[in-house]
Subunit: 434 residues, 2 copies
């Protein structure tokens, strides 16, 4: 027997039915926000992903030579592909563009809870606007799609910061080796405070600098209050631009009624190298799981890929942690099949079943019937396994009088109707009966 | 600038919108036939695909070692993956199962019209029934989904045969080296008749045998008539079982009103090695394109993969030829964006727009608004590029009287309404106005 590869998944129809409900809820919300779906290849040139993705991602890349000798890879995230598409066809586009996609992605990492080698990830991005309103649209869409799935502010925390804020703060302390220091800050939640300090010592920071950084990182709290306090404390021009932009985001999220979801948290950095401004992460409040997702501004990537300067903001949300969180809250949809009508048969009624099923299907009903020559009782058992709502019983004897039986499989109620009436106007007739 | 890989495709939102209509029409039809969606990984063990797929497919495989040293591949077709899933979880299933999926597949071949390195392919399969009714369900579903996309019997020909029929016929001629002879027959339409004969000579056939094979292959025509004639001509028991099963399929398709699509054509073989019975191909009648798709019975694959004996019948339809054929007939959907409402703004009305957009989206409308600080005229231009049906104009001055303007972008008709009324019950109010 063949096994599937570790870290990959199969979905049987009943499992898929639940997942389809989740994905279609997500798509609905995202489309209500005015995002349009795009699609790009799953295989790309290796260089597209080696140039700017985080180190971790490159280490986990499924990369190989194709039969033409090109070094290619399975995409480990979507952003470089989408920016490639954007740059290559920018001349056709009217900016700003709001795009989404739910690609399958691959990363060779150790499979564990919430972490797979093959997974799906919703990506939404706005390209072409520097306005904090674009940031707010992206964050609001993240919150709204979680609400539409059944979460509320007691489940979810959106932690927002701005990379420039931290950098400007580090500058006021005379620190310029951002890369090392940001890496330590990004890791802070996953390591002990001693290890954190050690990382900063190794980056040549002194006790006083470390203490101030820790104070700053701990200054999270109510978004608006904290930001206003910060804005008074640090009056430098460049830092106040950043703070003003964050204040606008905060105000706009409050206008939309989302303030209860938001925490201003200067410790948020995000691992990916390409972020340039606002960054955010979404967590379950109990912190049982890894970050549900994260995103932010990456205004320089289009230029880096050979295009014009096109500001960008977006996020990516994987399906694995989402499913864990929904199952924990018991809001993962029930895993069951659904079918409108099963036609059960007695005797040789093949011709009538062919005609009846064709007519019912042409009218938009989902229809199945026996192809195993089973007896009626086994057909009915099978129909309920398919989640059939209604049973149409077509019997040789009844047919002599032109009659079939319809049964509601939930209530058990049944009635006899004329086959010709069902065939001549099934929607009207079935609606009346049902 | 980065290029995408040859033979792969990008889709911008307007292109994607058309494709989504096509795919959702296909899914609707397939679900009306009682097929349920499954999902399997895009990466699989190399062995799963080397064991039984056709030679051509193995040559074109994207195969490589993963970081754990396993030889893996990108799936070039779906059937082996689906059968792997079926076998591994057969105990949970109530047979027969009717499954579909629209996987992305990869084959390293020379990109040309209708042939890509990365493409989508609808797969439907029925597992667990040997009854010709299962074959008919699969063939009917193929015909119906093409009809629902806008094709009719003047566009499409479904050519049906049975591998056993040809094999039994070859036996009556004393021919037993099926593999070589079937390969020649499978290639017949793509090569000259001299080359065809040469292939048969090389397979040790004599002139008389070759002549009889050619006569047999040319005996296609009206399905029922031809089959009945054949049934009288060849009275051997094993061949008459095959012919009876084809006659049942023919009768059932006729009952459903699909006889005009069908040709009985004994020259149909299908390249894939695993077919065991009925095989079919779908072509455009003018033969401008490669086969649109093909399928058939493969009753032994589950056993070969270590499972029980599970009879199977299904087909796979790639998206590339389908798109070419739809474009040729001008039934490919228009490539355009669609949006319900664009909110245009005059002056500083950020708070109202935040609230209004939130309420409209919560009511299921797709909504966008200006995030570029453009003037009204440019906002309206942008709205029509998004395919907006309605414009809601929110101006600082009007707002003092609590008023906004709604404009139908098709007709140009506009009227003023109270913002509060829109906010308190947007669906009702907008439906009334619109």
């Amino acid at each position: 027997m063949f096994e599937r590869l570790r870290g990959t998944r199969d979905f049987l129809p009943h499992e898929m039915a639940a997942r389809k409900k989740v994905f279609s809820s997500i798509k609905k919300t995202v489309e209500e926000f005015g995002f349009f779906e795009t699609d790009t290849p799953a295989i790309e040139l290796f260089d597209l992903y080696s140039i700017k993705s985080g180190e971790e991602i490159i280490e986990e890349l499924y990369a190989f030579q194709d039969k033409g000798g090109r070094m290619i890879c399975l995409r480990p995230e979507l952003t470089p592909s989408v920016v490639r598409l954007l740059v290559s066809r920018a001349k056709e586009l009217s900016f700003p563009v709001k795009w989404y996609s739910i690609p399958r992605l691959w990363r060779y990492e150790r499979p564990q809870s919430g972490r797979l080698r093959e997974f799906y990830q919703l990506n939404i991005d706005i390209f072409g606007s520097e306005d904090p309103k674009a940031d707010t649209e992206v964050i609001s869409c993240a919150i709204k799609l979680l609400c539409d799935l059944g979460f509320d502010k007691s489940d979810i925390e959106v932690r927002i910061s701005d990379r420039r804020l931290l950098q400007e703060f580090l500058l006021t302390l005379g620190i310029t080796n951002f890369h090392e220091v940001l890496r330590a800050i990004d890791k802070r939640e996953k390591i002990s405070s001693d290890d954190f300090r050690l990382m900063l010592y190794n980056a040549n920071l002194d006790d006083c600098q470390i203490k101030k950084i820790e104070e700053f990182l701990d200054s999270k709290g109510n978004f608006l209050t904290t930001l206003e306090a910060l804005s008074k404390q640090y009056m430098g021009e460049s830092i106040s631009i950043v703070i003003n932009s964050l204040l606008k985001i905060a105000q706009n999220l409050t206008d939309r009624g989302y303030e209860g979801f938001i925490t201003f948290d200067p410790s948020i950095v995000r691992g990916l190298d390409y972020y340039t401004g606002m960054v955010f992460e979404v967590h379950d409040r109990k912190r049982e799981f890894r970050a549900l997702f994260g995103g932010g501004r990456y205004d320089n990537l289009a230029e880096l890929f050979g295009g014009e300067h096109i500001p960008a903001v977006g996020f990516g949300m994987g399906d694995a942690v989402l499913e864990l969180m929904m199952r924990r809250k018991n809001i993962w949809p029930e895993e069951k099949l659904e079918l409108d009508i099963f036609i059960a048969t007695i005797g040789n009624v093949d011709t009538e079943v062919s005609r009846l099923s064709t007519v019912l299907r042409n009218n938009g009903f989902t229809v199945d019937f026996d192809i195993m020559n089973r007896n009626l009782s086994n057909q009915i058992k099978f129909a309920s396994k398919l989640g059939a709502k209604f049973l149409l019983i077509v019997g040789e004897r009844d047919l002599k009088e032109g009659i079939v039986t319809i049964r509601d499989l939930d209530s058990g109620k049944e009635s006899k109707i004329l086959l010709n009436e069902v065939i001549s106007s099934p929607s009207k007739y079935l609606t009346k009966v049902l």
